[in-house]
């Protein structure tokens, strides 16, 4: 690899992180706005940046929408006094918020967020197209809980501690269901109909040209979505910070920018979680599923448009991802919080067995499909797989 390539990769990486963090930041704004709209309020509509807000009509609209709330919040977090309570374990206390943000950002490396074509061959827009994509994601994203547990421990009080312990128990339970819900997807994507036979997310998206998997595998999609809610500590699963019982949960002792880091980490986790869900079940950057009937161009109408098509594919991916974020927020203001034993019951007694049943069902089905349909119809597909 040339040093130019390395430099380019670094630039891409910085771009991706900046965009993701911005989206995460603006999700906070979206959360506040949508929450207020659902509750019959107007929400943040005062923060203004003089230059931009003075543009005649647009400026006023942006102020009303609360677009400038993010810089205001950011500045507040930066300049707020940051007390370090006397009873905390200083080193861990300072490390913990970073630890909760870093895994969320590392996962970005293997997320394909768009597609471009070289000589008619689809190439993913991704920082590193690892063969073990989804394993990497599962491995790294489960590290996020260390930040929470460490913060809870360092906080050195019982409320934060309970929050941390609950958080780890919940993560472990739902990680299991999540991992198992993904298996049918990869069985399907890597059957003889799929091409390369590995675990990259790019393959999964390519395999969804005919049918988005949410239609074909609604139950795994549902299990995955539920597990995602629990993993990202969103309501109705926000056990780690239940304000009613635990004051603030694991971040009771945190304030200022450290709390901000936790907050951004949580939202970055949400952004990336919904990105993965989009890739696995919603056909990634593809326009519409063809259902095997419509002509092929429906899946990627902009395939031949060069770099413009690539940009559109990224935009379309972000649109899908963001609608899922809106759904996250919408659910938050609809469902009440579960009790902790209910959370555990749903996780272990319903989701895990359901995911197991799904694996068995889809394994049998896909095996039968491959044996009796695909192999007979496309006997040469295995040879094509070898590059």
């Amino acid at each position: 690899m040339d040093w130019i390539d390395i430099l380019l990769k670094v630039v891409y990486a910085v771009l991706v992180v900046v965009v993701t963090m911005t989206i995460a930041g603006y999700s906070v704004m979206a959360e506040r706005k949508i929450a207020s709209w659902i509750q019959g309020r107007i929400g943040p509509n005062r923060a203004r940046i003089p230059g931009i807000a003075d543009i005649p009509v647009l400026g006023k609209m942006l102020v009303q929408l609360g677009i400038f709330q993010l810089p205001a919040d950011g500045l507040k977090f930066l300049f707020k006094e940051e007390p370090v309570p006397a009873h905390v374990k200083k080193v861990y206390y300072n490390i913990a918020p970073c630890l909760s943000l870093v895994p969320a950002l590392v996962v970005l490396v293997v997320l394909p967020f768009g597609v471009y074509y070289v000589d008619g061959q689809a190439q993913p827009l991704v920082l590193a197209n690892l063969d073990i994509g989804i394993l990497f994601i599962l491995a790294i994203s489960s590290l996020g809980v260390y930040g929470i547990v460490l913060g809870a421990w360092a906080g050195n009080n019982k409320y934060s501690f309970f929050g941390g312990v609950r958080s780890s128990a919940q993560m472990i339970s739902y990680e299991l269901a999540m991992g198992m819900a993904i298996l049918p997807v990869f069985m399907w994507a890597n059957g003889p109909t799929g091409s390369l036979g590995d675990l990259t997310l790019f393959n999964v998206v390519e395999a969804q040209k005919d049918l988005w998997l949410v239609f074909w595998m609604p139950l795994p999609a549902f299990i995955y979505l539920t597990a995602l809610f629990a993993e990202t500590n969103r309501l109705p699963f926000d056990m780690p910070e239940t304000e009613t019982e635990l004051v603030g949960g694991f971040h009771t002792e945190y304030g200022g920018f450290k709390f901000g880091l936790y907050f951004t980490g949580e939202y970055a986790h949400m952004v990336i979680g919904s990105a993965i869900f989009t890739l696995l079940f919603f056909g990634g950057w593809q326009f519409l599923p063809t259902f095997g009937v419509l002509p092929d161009w429906v899946a990627n109408p902009w395939a031949s448009w060069g770099w413009i098509g690539a940009v559109i594919s990224v935009i379309f991916f972000i649109v899908k991802m963001y609608s899922l974020m809106v759904f996250f927020i919408w659910i938050r203001w609809t469902l009440p919080r579960f009790r902790y034993d209910q959370v555990m019951t749903i996780g272990w007694k319903y989701l895990v067995p359901m995911a197991l049943a799904c694996i068995i069902f889809y394994a049998i089905f896909i095996a039968a499909w491959d044996t009796f349909w695909t192999i007979e119809n496309i006997p040469a597909v295995i040879d094509q797989a070898a590059p």
Partner: protein, 182 residues
Amino acid sequence: MSKVVERKPLTFLEKTYLPQIIGGLKITLKNFFRPKVTLQYPEERPPIPVGYRGVPTLVRDPNGREKCVSCQLCEFVCPPKAIRITPGEIPEAETERAHVEKGPEDFEINMLRCIYCGMCEEVCPEEAIFLQDIYSVVGTSREEFVNHKDKLYELGGTLPDQHYKWDKKKTAEERAAAGGHH
């Protein structure tokens, strides 16, 4: 006669809670598009009901004269001891009020202590102190929250009233001096 309501066992679909969750989502979505009910506070003010107990103020009589005679009843009755009155004489120059016994030299109400109970208004024999509809008290220092006499009269203004105790006394005195009887 009690009516027994039979509780049906939940169907499978109901046990999954999914229809209920979808129903809930529908309701929140409907709320999403409803007109907003928020009051835009600094621009829009809420209507204040009659008899609202806001900031205590001093009022002048319809002739523009101070009504307070610094009897200190309000100071005495005030539960949190927010009122302090420095009694003073009526200045010689004010011939208009020469017949009134006393007037306050200074009258301070500490809004950091005031609990808006309205007992000062109740007890005032001159109807000089009123709790009016001002409800937002702001300031950046403790000193700003102590309302002195000028501020209190500025806030209070003049209220229509029928209480002309000192005028009546004056006319009575004048009549007596003229040899009449009362």
